[in-house]
Symmetry: C2
């Protein structure tokens, strides 16, 4: 492993988990062997536990969203690798409420398999499980493969809405249905101007020339179908907005806008992008009813950003606004009034 500031050994994740647990000891507890993290607090109305997880290298996802109003436990894999099913199993045992447990799974084969094995075991133990699959990445929309769209930036939005819904005391089937609707109402597209540092070589994971743009990149450095000349930012954002809007199913005109940094992109740039997105929506008669701007689902230190739009049903708005007391989710308008 060869990130610039990599601790000794092959795997930086255990040290990072310990450092995370040190930094947020008031909110989370770390269990090792197998590694999983559990929120210390949950809102009393919650009957169904929420568990997520996936490869590391996307921090603050998922552990940064542990806590009241969002996730109850997470299973962190090695960098860009699915967690072992035993991690998911332990996380789920601790998180399960009287109504069972929901797995929020990004759509990657390894994650689907490992969460699936864990779910089978949980059922044998009498714990009911449902899965919410997040599959928002338009770059992988194709009729030709059975894999479907990858799960990317919408994951935070799904976890936020689902957490608030779970706090109202809804049951397992209702939450699984809602979670599926949150995911179905979300689409994303990502671009990169520089690949992430390869944890294996210390070099960029794929080559990009100055002025090139990987249009439709994945959050593990999956290359896009096309590498293009980087257009002016105004044109790029307009094009992405058109594509994401076209990819969204029909629904309400109120949107949650997520401008997500992929790791090496400054807030200065992300906020400028957010201004272009906001102005572009206004020109189309659409409304940003809420949003996130920052580095929430990066691909290590990749330079780039993703745009996620989620069509917000009117009844979901208060779930978006409800506080989420976690290490990384920002304050919501309900808290700041």
């Amino acid at each position: 492993m060869a990130l610039p500031f990599h601790p000794a050994g092959d795997d930086p994740v255990p040290a990072a988990l310990r450092g995370f647990a040190r930094a947020h000891a008031d909110l989370v507890e770390l269990h090792e062997k197998p590694a999983h993290l559990v929120a210390r607090h949950r809102n009393p109305g919650r009957r169904v536990g929420l568990v997520s997880g996936g490869g590391s290298g996307h921090e603050p996802l998922h552990a940064g969203f542990l806590g009241r109003g969002m996730l109850d436990a997470v299973a962190p894999g090695k960098v860009f690798a699915s967690p072992h099913n035993k991690q998911v199993l332990e996380a789920s045992r601790r998180a399960a409420g009287p109504g069972g447990v929901i797995h929020v799974v990004k759509n990657y084969t390894g994650d689907r398999i490992n969460f699936g094995i864990a779910a089978e075991r949980l059922r044998l133990e009498g714990i009911e499980v449902r899965r919410v699959l997040v599959d928002d990445d338009l770059a992988t929309e194709s009729d030709e493969t059975a894999t479907g769209r990858r799960g990317t930036g919408a994951t935070v939005v799904v976890e936020k809405l689902l957490g608030a819904a779970a706090d109202t005391g809804l049951g397992l089937d209702e939450l699984a249905d809602l979670g599926g609707r949150f995911a179905a109402a979300s689409r994303s597209l990502a671009v990169a101007s520089r690949a992430q540092t390869s944890p294996h070589t210390g070099e960029p994971s794929f080559p990009l020339e100055d002025g090139e743009l990987e249009f439709g990149v994945g959050i593990h450095g999956e290359r896009a179908q096309k590498t293009v000349t980087r257009p002016p930012l105004e044109d790029l954002v307009e094009d992405m907005l058109d594509r994401v809007l076209a990819g969204l199913p029909d629904g309400p005109d109120d949107l949650i806008v997520t401008v997500n940094g992929l790791g090496g992109t400054t807030l200065l740039e992300l906020y400028a992008i957010n201004d272009l997105v906001g102005a572009g929506l206004e020109r189309r008669g659409l409304t940003a009813a809420g949003g996130l701007v920052g580095t929430f689902v990066p691909a290590l230190d990749m330079a780039g950003f993703s745009l996620t739009l989620t069509r917000l049903e009117p009844s979901w708005l208060h779930w978006w606004s409800a506080p989420a007391v976690t290490p990384a989710f920002p304050r919501t308008p309900e808290e700041t009034a």
Copy 2:
């Protein structure tokens, strides 16, 4: 200007400010000509307004810390350039309370001059002003220059503590004295493995070979006195911890630990560093009574990190723990219990 995702024109800051104001309309309002941002809410006990500012490119500093419990107004300059004194003047007029206004200034010549001119004008208008100068960077500690240490990562800590102190209704002289003590109790050191992208050329601002480390880098890409071969992370952190501890004035053994990313460094690495710092403090019989891990005072997209330690007087602990309702300051233990 040539950041990868740079809007049209020479200056990315106006678009970024608009995008920031869009994202955080519940917390801040943006005024243009001259550009400054004002917090929408302040705690009712506060009698003295707190104003900060400085060059852009360090986001979330300073505007991310606008709001109840921290700053009342900020003046953002162009990238890595001091704000104009008229920006500081307008920000201060809006922020001033019945007890006057405090300027939190990072120790750079341009900032000192521009905040100084604004202070003179405010005094002519009958508004009392005191300055809190943040000068924590050990890499610039020297008897040979009159400039003194640069202001870097400690700025967030000073702004947090001073905000909470101001909310208790303290007066101008008491707050200026306290602010000076917060700054004096803080020391920092920063390292980089890759320079930030030059906003002028789009290339790294200075060359570093693979495996080299700029030891004592500044947050505008000021080069260090020495470029070294990058040591193993454990040795690097131990060395930095020794130096920062040696640079701190005598005082209590309880510390606030700030592990700050310089822009292009992953949370995975920052949390691993935080674990090494925490373990290193424990071996020395010292306590991390609080801390921050994340990207708070970056140098655009520089790959690197800084370590800041602040000796925490027992009477300051509740100021550290008090909530700060801002776009970017994390939740405090008082909020999460």
